[in-house]
Subunit: 477 residues, 2 copies
Amino acid sequence: VKARLARPVGQSPLYEQLARDIAEMIRNGVFRSGDRLPSVRALKASRGVSAPTAIEAFRWLEDHGLVEARSRSGYFVMTPRPDLFAPRLVQTTGRPAAVETLKANTPILCVSSRPDLLPFGAAVPSAELFPLARLRQLTSSIVRRHPEALGTYTFSPGLRDLRFEIARRAVAWGYSPDPDDIVITNGCVEAVGLALRAVTKPGDIVAIESPGYYGFIHLLEMLHLKALEIPSNALGGLSLPHLREAISRHDIRACLISTTVTNPSGATMTLDAKQELVALLADSDIPLIEDATFADLHFRLEMRAAKSLDQHAGVMLCASLTKTVAPGLRLGWIDAGRWTQEVSAYKRVASIGQPELPQRVLAAYLAGGGMERHLRALRRRLAAQVDQHLSTIAQCLGDKVRVVRPTGGFLLWLELPAHLDGVALQAQAADLGIGLAPGRMFSVSGGFRNYLRVNCGQVWSSRIETAYLQLSRMIME
Amino acid sequence: VKARLARPVGQSPLYEQLARDIAEMIRNGVFRSGDRLPSVRALKASRGVSAPTAIEAFRWLEDHGLVEARSRSGYFVMTPRPDLFAPRLVQTTGRPAAVETLKANTPILCVSSRPDLLPFGAAVPSAELFPLARLRQLTSSIVRRHPEALGTYTFSPGLRDLRFEIARRAVAWGYSPDPDDIVITNGCVEAVGLALRAVTKPGDIVAIESPGYYGFIHLLEMLHLKALEIPSNALGGLSLPHLREAISRHDIRACLISTTVTNPSGATMTLDAKQELVALLADSDIPLIEDATFADLHFRLEMRAAKSLDQHAGVMLCASLTKTVAPGLRLGWIDAGRWTQEVSAYKRVASIGQPELPQRVLAAYLAGGGMERHLRALRRRLAAQVDQHLSTIAQCLGDKVRVVRPTGGFLLWLELPAHLDGVALQAQAADLGIGLAPGRMFSVSGGFRNYLRVNCGQVWSSRIETAYLQLSRMIME
């Protein structure tokens, strides 16, 4: 380690430089998976850095999924997780189609989120993963200090303090929005709906990823838009060649995708692919609606929003704090680029604004400064839960399923043997007290019959273990 | 009074029977405006009723706007308020038209709700009129007892406890919905948007009242619907002959109106007119979307929702608690009749659901039982504020304006001399620190140029008095 001390200091802070050096050594095999890294004391001696700098470097490595802390024994290089086999890329029809899935999906959705069932399908984490004690404290203090928060209107674009805090945090995603460009919404879904409204009219074609989040598919239906499904790979996300081809053939008016930790398949596009995507869409003058719902829960080295690569204000970034701070606050936001005024006006038309109290609570939470530490712990916890699911799946279902470790979040996308039907499995599982999310919901055309989305957001329990045994019996039959 | 004692007891409670007797004597001129009513003690003696019954009867009379309490001196028959002259009924084009007002209205709206201006136009009451202390207490207690409320999702149709409390209260409007038919929304505006979505598709014609709330006009535009304006009278509300004629000529797919305390003109249809409206629309198989935003703030004898007269589940009642309990909670609801399933699904598609904490707070507030007393006090307070505005207008502007006392709420609809333009007045007034709402926003076709909507929701102050002097100078010039 000592040899590198002489390297000139670049623009990045000392701890990051140290961390990147160690990361390179991990990649070069100097440190191998499971190895213990040098201690803080050893780094102090060998690199002449202070203890806080060394600790900060370890945190950076942990944030980037390269090392893990083990209590009282230091930092260890992460062991590669049981990546089984990736679900196959599924070809789509390549034709735009009116969406008519809500009627068929509503009963399926109702079962998947039935409160009496184990939430194996619905994307809901355990409440205890969120900083509830802190939020409770902030809530009580805010109603005491700002009782008028209950008695006044907060019109769209929303509470200035919250927009400021959100803009400040966006730095983590590689860009620095103006707080005045941010509109507060009722979660990310509403943000996407507003974005679609701003750039399309009924009958327009919107490119979406396949498989893709059913909530967005339902939005297209509600807004009378046509969907054009572009295949997306569980390993690298949206297929750019397919998108390029689709653009050459169809008059696409918006492209709605997640570039980081997709739902359901947990994929993240590489930085190069994000760059190519943004350039391709800018060339064709197609707005990109970027869903960043799970982006703060990435386990990987890089997290840059496509928005951060946008030079023409043509990307509309839609994000949420429901998956990271508190589902119960229902707060999301959008930076709508050159459509900010329209989006803000539409939010006001649709519902005036969000309630003020949750906005004040969230603003105070973000201002308080515990967010990054909380996120670090949350990612670590979710990654561990995901891995526990993956190893249980490997044990119970072996080569019957294809699945990869997601790049973040808490969802798994399972390809089952071709003869199985997720909707039939859902009905069987409900009788056993288990709620499943069948793959069919994640496409416009009824594809992915033999797929399931699995929620790893619940804290591991023997009930989950039993559920896997029950499911494997159903699947093996 | 004694003579009536022998009358057989009907189905209504004793206090109501007593109250109705007194109401009849007021109408017959036995008691005249300004007269002091017999005291509780006198009624005890003459009618043989208990003191609580007599007090309850006075409250009923007060609720119905017939008497007022004066501190330490008893109950007095209300003095007729300075009803000046009613704004004229304005003929509409009678033709359905695509709506394109949002772009022009957005800057006007921004001025009218600028936080640094006196809110003379925006429909916002003073925060102190709401039960903030109680809500604050409930909020603290709920986050203590239900910290999970911040950490969990509450999907559409919303918190069961709240839907139950709302259903229980609907009795005051003459009907008893099933809690399962109620969907919780982000205020009444969102409820109306969902209702429109459930029964129309882009390009459909919707009948609305003229003048009508700009928020609904903007909704039509956002949903790509055509508006057909039906004239509405400041004294009796929607003109039924005009509606009947419109139905015979056009393929109307929904009728969106307020039957009780319209915005902006404060009119309420008679019970007979409501009955006729419901029958007319049922005959033509046109869904009625009934806006009841201000209905709980009526000053009059009768408040029955048109929904209560609906025998075919063809009325969609949209209501809100933002004007009565807390603007900051942003909670409204809809009973969508036979479209309940669609509306609930669309709410979920649009934004999953409302945040749980405000729902719990409101449910606890309603369950606590102070609502009717609060409403009584609020109506009395608002009526007094409205009257103070009306008498100031009479003093400052005399016969320059036409205005009537609204049947409830806190809005006045002012017709100014024909040469004046509300938008120009708005710009002038903003320079003086006053925010106005120009009449033009309340129509699709740019009518009502020389009208203003005035907000009487703010507690009376010398600033308001000065504002009237400033406005009268502008108008008289």
